[in-house]
Amino acid sequence: MLLEERLARSQEAFQRLTREIQRVIVGHQETIRGVLICLLCGGHVLLEGVPGLGKTLLVRTLGHLLGLKFARIQFTPDLMPADILGTNIIMEDESGRRYFEFTQGPIFAHIILADEINRATPKTQSALLEAMQEKSVTVGGRTYSLEDPFMVLATQNPIEMEGTYPLPEAQVDRFFFKLLLNYPSADELDEILVRSALEGALPAARIFTREELLEARQLVSQIPIAEPLRHYIVRLVAATHPQAEGTPPLVRDYVEYGASPRAGIALLWGAKANAFLEGQLNVRAEDIHQVFLPALRHRLIRNFRGEAEGIAVEEILQQVLERTPEV
């Protein structure tokens, strides 16, 4: 089969997936697209938005449509790591002999919804670190691999900060994208109201198999990117560092720490996945532009002045994008 045909088939599958998600979720096209990109790249998503915008519904719908094992973890202050990873429990065989048996926690799924992740204690949050990065968990001295695909979609509420534990930077950096959910427009709200009156909000059929997803991932990984675009990504990441030469004024004045190399990786792979979703055979500069904000907005740390003056990270990143030459 020709490459174009394989690509076309995979792209058609993802278009169907998008359409099905949009039958449940009104609006939020960019968010849906970001989630699909992360799915294609094997990255994790941090969804941020006020309550009631459909964060949880989006993740549940995705898990349902993909036909993958889906788990939801509601993070609370008393949540323990064992509640996520699993634990060894004492078992007794027929002869009465007791032994420890590992019982998997909800982390052993393909799609994990870590709802309100910032409500758990740092100890519990850090339990996700190894799983997110290494795609394995270690319990009682034994390491257990997580099945591919493994994707964590964490949500957090930006307005209720009492009793929350903001995610440490090291953990935030492990999220491939940070996607923001905004309030729906009037038309979208009206559509939400109409759909809420219907029964069976979730689509019944699963339209995507695990094998199809893995093949799509393989295609995405093969999509070529030209050297000038790789250099462009390097320049973009370097431009977020205030101590670098020729950085934009907003970065110089309001940024404490710039983006990590993971940001560059996220840009590269995100651009590839975006090109795939666009039906392209190669990465374009537009693909980099489209994934720039979600890939970098949680990796930029503003300084005190930036926070005090209320300079938005998106504003800084927009200037970086405008002032960095493509060639």
């Binding site: 093969q222 999509i223 030209a226 675009l229 392209q280 500069a285």
Partner: protein, 485 residues
Amino acid sequence: MDTYLAIEREVIRRRRWLNALRGLRWGATVSLAITLVYIGAVSLGWPERVPWSLLVLLNLVSLLYGARLGYRRSVALQEDLYRVDRAFGLGEKLTTIYELRRAGGAEDFLEALYRKTQDLSLDPARALPVPRSERRAWLLLGVLGVATLAASLLWLSGVPPLPLAGLPFGSAMTSARPDPSNPAPRETTTSGSESEAQEQAAGQKSGRASPAAALAEALRELQGGLKSGELTPEQVHAQLARLSEQVPSSELERLLAPSGREELQRALEEARQQLERALSGGADPQSAEPEDRSGPGSSSSTEEAANPPQGGSAPSGKDEAQAQPSDQANASSSGQAEGEQNNSSASGESSGGENSSEGGAEAASAGEPSEGKPTGDDLRQSSSPSSGSGVGEEPGSKTAASGKQPLPTQTELPIHSALLPKDAQVLARLLTQGIPVDLIGQQPDGTPILRVSLPQVEALLELRSLPPELRALVRAYFLAIGSEE
């Protein structure tokens, strides 16, 4: 694949062309600089022997070398392909193909990209235009080039090579000579090429001429023109002003420097001696030079000029001058004959008119006795009551008597009638307009006696804002002609 390769070839060709254009610009800049340096050096009199053809050759080499360097410059093909991609909205396909061809692998993607680009038809020149900065640079270069060319043409047309290593003194005077409608004076002047040859010969004789020597030469020409009536007083003033403007400032600064003052003084002294010799008609300058002038050069002359005998105007003399031309026409038949033979010659030399101009120039420059030009010796002889008419007499025979006496600072200048223009109006202008010369009398043979008013000369010099050394030289000149017996 063929389409991609064709596009790649086009992009390379376009980039080489742009690089060649850029190299050509640098070559043109260098060429312009060479031309400016050449013109500047010529105007300062340095490359006396450097021909124009060498300049043209240098310019051509510079242009060709710049273009060749630019053309052979390496081409950043991937960047250019990226520009083409962006300009035509190709989604970076060309750049990616280049990358895959270079790095290898992903054959299926490469083939797919070939298939996607096989129907492309584009002109890379649209994506790779001549940069705006390049266009601006060419515009600036063009303006500078045209300005340089115009300046060169103006300079070449108005200022032919000049006596002193190319300094435009002589040509300025040549251009200021009477208009072509007056054929009589033109007969006396040599053609441009002849005068150039004479000037070059004079320059060669005296070695590499200095600006002061050129100044002396120019003043000598002024003197000749004044005496022969070719120049009106206004023209003399105008040329003196031009002389002051044409003296290179660098040369003046050099000459005015403490080390240059001695050289200038020597040159002034030399010029004064040449004037002496010219006026004395070949008399030995050493014997003719008074002892009080052989000291510190022209400074004493300058001091003398500062306190000249007052030569006020003589109304009666002027009245006489109105009727003078008709008298002059009949005054001396021999002078008249000589004047017809050679307007600039008042002496009855056997060398005749054919040698007069050449011999005069050489004599003027080399300090040899003049054979063809009117000299101060003639004037001195005619001014002396006992000398009678100096026309046709050997100038050198009289210098023994007049040359050994110290030159007084006199202001009377007898002019033989043959030296004066026949045109009465010209004479009237000469006597009444501007020039500080008064007609104070007439010798028995009809030779008018003119008096130079040195204070008026001084006032004129002040008005002309001449450089101090030049002013001293002009002052010395007037002193010299005023000191004629």
